[in-house]
Symmetry: D2
Subunit: 293 residues, 4 copies
């Protein structure tokens, strides 16, 4: 197995803003600490949940440093460093390594649909400049490009690309990854409603924002799988499924903020154009959370 | 739980033809017998695998009678009776019941896309004329209409519609069925490559043509699930996945015929426009079968 | 140019039923006569509009003969002879030729998705048995298979396949047909809402059920194009667009029957599972027809 | 009609880079000048063709100022100011207005899929801060969100949102815009292969990068439409269609650069991850250009 520091529940913090829509580092650290003490196996700042694309370079650097500072080595840290240009991706990857990240996550963000060769060169350019492992992330819904299994295989030939995160929501894609990549690469699921199917298919971990709200249920699912108890896993999964679908459908940053507030925890403000859930959405969410108690 | 006679592996026989493209009942019975002695939990003649839509009314009746005659009550029999018109669907459903079928399967075949009301009235018209249970089958790829979860729920309000077979290949649809239908209705998977995911999601059974070729592997998967042994189920599933994908991609009647012949078993002829696999497809299939030994 | 007897407005009659859901030949002839006297350039019985797949072999023969008998050579006749099996397609094609049809239309109906080779052999088997021209019809929404431009080109190598009817609703497909097929083959549009775009792209004719309701507007569009008057064509097209979209969205047999009745013309009954438009749909249709007066 | 300064051919310049991947303003001005002297009715810097999302704020400002400076009022200027955050979009819109732009174009770029309300508030926030007109741009392929016709209608209620650019490639969407928006709003086509269909449907203009390579053919198409000569428009359109499809399929910045060089004109460098066309792509392009001579 290639170098691959992650397994289990990889928790994604939100990036909270103050009322002037500026990043609120103090609140960020509090929310991050909750994820760690809840038992998450790893944390992943500057993901989609952390609205990374809406942040300036300076803000991304501040979040990276705040994370390393707060985690203090208790769990591995996976930092999102994706950018439209190769030059900026290299810059942020180097910053993350220097700051102390255990690995970086890169989605080939694309405005112009990139060719396979352009994507390979993009990853390769970054990989050459850092020594920590890279998780290649496939999510056509946010990144705009769907990396084929064949392309993912090419990426894994780059020595420090050691992990794949798959969020297409296609179970057959996961089968392919497990079959073709074998034990040489870690395979992570990023689609919340497919958490059970992905673990059944052999995923090493689950990248999720849900631990902001229901860490115990998320960990229970992983533990049931780890104990080879499918019946328990099924039971625990169906218990949390409504919440998983809700937070995905409403957009993770908006939904997590609302869920935190429904649980009495400060969630901060959003950065425009993102706006809070509507009243009726909050009411619906309240019912879903009530079912879990 | 409503009346629901099926669980486990529901095996689909092909309908073989002679060299003049006429149905070969003698060969059909032989192939059916193989499915029964291999341990299939039920058999389902006149499905897609059995090229039902390509048969005349008389041929369908002959297959139905031959099945009941051969099975002799050893396993439950699920007969496909779908037809474009309501009148012909009623006719075949009544014939199947009288012949001794345990249940009928109905997909809302549609040339003109049917409205939800038209589909409900179609099932209702059939249900009123028979007393055996009905399995409603959702498969947009062959039937031309995708029944929403809400529609499936309406169908289950018809007393003898007691089972749903789902073949969209969408795991989330299966989650919905298991959640919303609860224990009131049987839920069956018809998508071969999703066999593991469907069982993990709680499917009661797997409707499949694969037992024509690899009955032991199919049963091993079900048994592992039944013993709550996910690790074994995963191992057995990945062993058979290539074959499952191949037979689906090539079309079940064509692929099963080719697979039987590769195993030294007579598979008969196809009815035009369906043609045998090409030589290179057969060669590919041979490699896939060889991997299993 | 290959032998190609059609241009302009090719009108599709419905197949009306009596209250016992039996084909009503007397009413059929009346409705067909309306299409002819209105000035349609050709008529096409046993199309999707004529619910051909819902008819028995005997009913199809009766409609074919009634059409030839009623038309009496005033306009060319294009008879639909598609069937799931090659044997039945050949049968109906031969019947149509013998009865006096000018051409037959064939869509590769498919339950099992046919390979390109299977489709070519299917058309070839029919073409060898008749001497009148064949229109190959591409409509994935009803036929279940989407014939690629490359496949259509292969079909046109069969000597009496001389025309393509395209109903995918994709303007770029039409561009391809016009470019690649050139003047060697007739290219017909079967997508009502794309009537203007298709004529602008160079279609030879428009296959449509709309002349059952608005023959003058349909002919006006063709005539404006024929006079190279795009501004007039645009004006006439936008006048009828709402009606075209409505009849497509509601399903042609159901919508045409309702529209005839709103115009005070007997439309007969439908065959189950098809049901009449709902009251609110009829009310909506009434408003659309009123706009046209 | 609302204030709407554009019609005809709206030409999109590329943003060329030097060998260090820095913006080359001198070359940019030369390429822009070519578009103006060729007779384009307007120019649109910082569009997708101009790789706007890959530029820094400073680079965008430099391009905006260089454009105004070079154009010197000869044709109207439409500046792209889209950004993921509302704050940055407002910033660039104000900058463009101050610099002398005639209008700004805004696509609701989205990483997180925006709700309709979020999109309306985003446009409204910008509209309130500027007095020049706004063209709302719908292009799910690059922007990540597909604005429904109903949403576009809501946007047009904002006083200075006066134009819609539509690039979904769906002719029926264009019909809707022309019908529902009537003469109150300008409607522009951004899909090159649909240029003829869009003009036939009544588009006011065509937003295109093609004038970098074939300005005369682009203008000839518009002029034929303007003279109500559909036959001439069809002829001219089919002449340029292969090129239009090629540049869209390969990505406009990469394809335009290659095309310029094939015509002996300096096209500059691309910014990574974008890479030049491969040799075989260039060879294919050469053949397409040769056909036009």
């Amino acid at each position: 197995m290639k170098n691959n520091p992650f397994k289990g529940i990889i928790a994604y913090p939100i990036t909270p803003f103050d009322k002037d829509e500026q990043v609120d580092i103090v609140l960020y650290k509090k929310l991050l600490e909750r994820l760690i003490v809840a038992g998450s196996h790893a944390v992943a700042p500057l993901g989609s949940t952390g609205v990374m694309p809406y942040l300036t370079d300076q803000e991304k650097e501040a979040i990276t440093e705040a994370t390393i500072d707060q985690v203090k080595g208790r769990v591995p840290v996976l930092v999102g460093v994706s950018n439209l240009t190769t030059e900026r991706t290299v810059y942020h990857a180097k910053f993350a390594e220097k700051a102390g990240a255990n690995a970086v996550m890169i989605i080939p963000m694309s405005y112009w649909k990139l060719t396979d060769d352009e994507i390979v060169q993009h990853y390769d350019a970054v990989a050459k400049q850092i020594s920590i492992p890279i998780m290649a992330y496939n999510n056509p819904a946010t990144g705009g490009v769907d990396m084929s299994p064949a392309l993912l295989k090419r990426l894994l030939e780059i020595p420090n690309v050691t992990m794949i995160k798959e969020s297409t929501g296609d179970v057959q894609r996961m089968h392919y990854l497990r079959r073709k990549l074998g034990e040489d690469a870690g395979f992570y699921n990023g689609s919340n409603p497919l958490a059970l199917a992905a673990f059944a298919a052999g995923a090493n971990g689950w990248c999720t924002a849900a631990p902001n709200l229901i860490p115990k249920l998320n960990l229970d699912l992983y533990n049931a799988i780890d104990k080879n108890d499918l019946q328990e896993a099924q039971k625990v999964f169906y218990k949390q499924l409504n919440l998983l679908k809700f937070i995905v459908n409403k957009g993770l940053p908006r939904a997590i903020k609302a869920g935190l507030e429904l649980q009495g925890i400060e969630g901060g403000f959003l950065r425009s154009p993102l706006k809070p859930l509507t009243e009726s959405e909050v009411a619906e969410f309240k019912l879903i959370l009530a079912e879990l108690e």
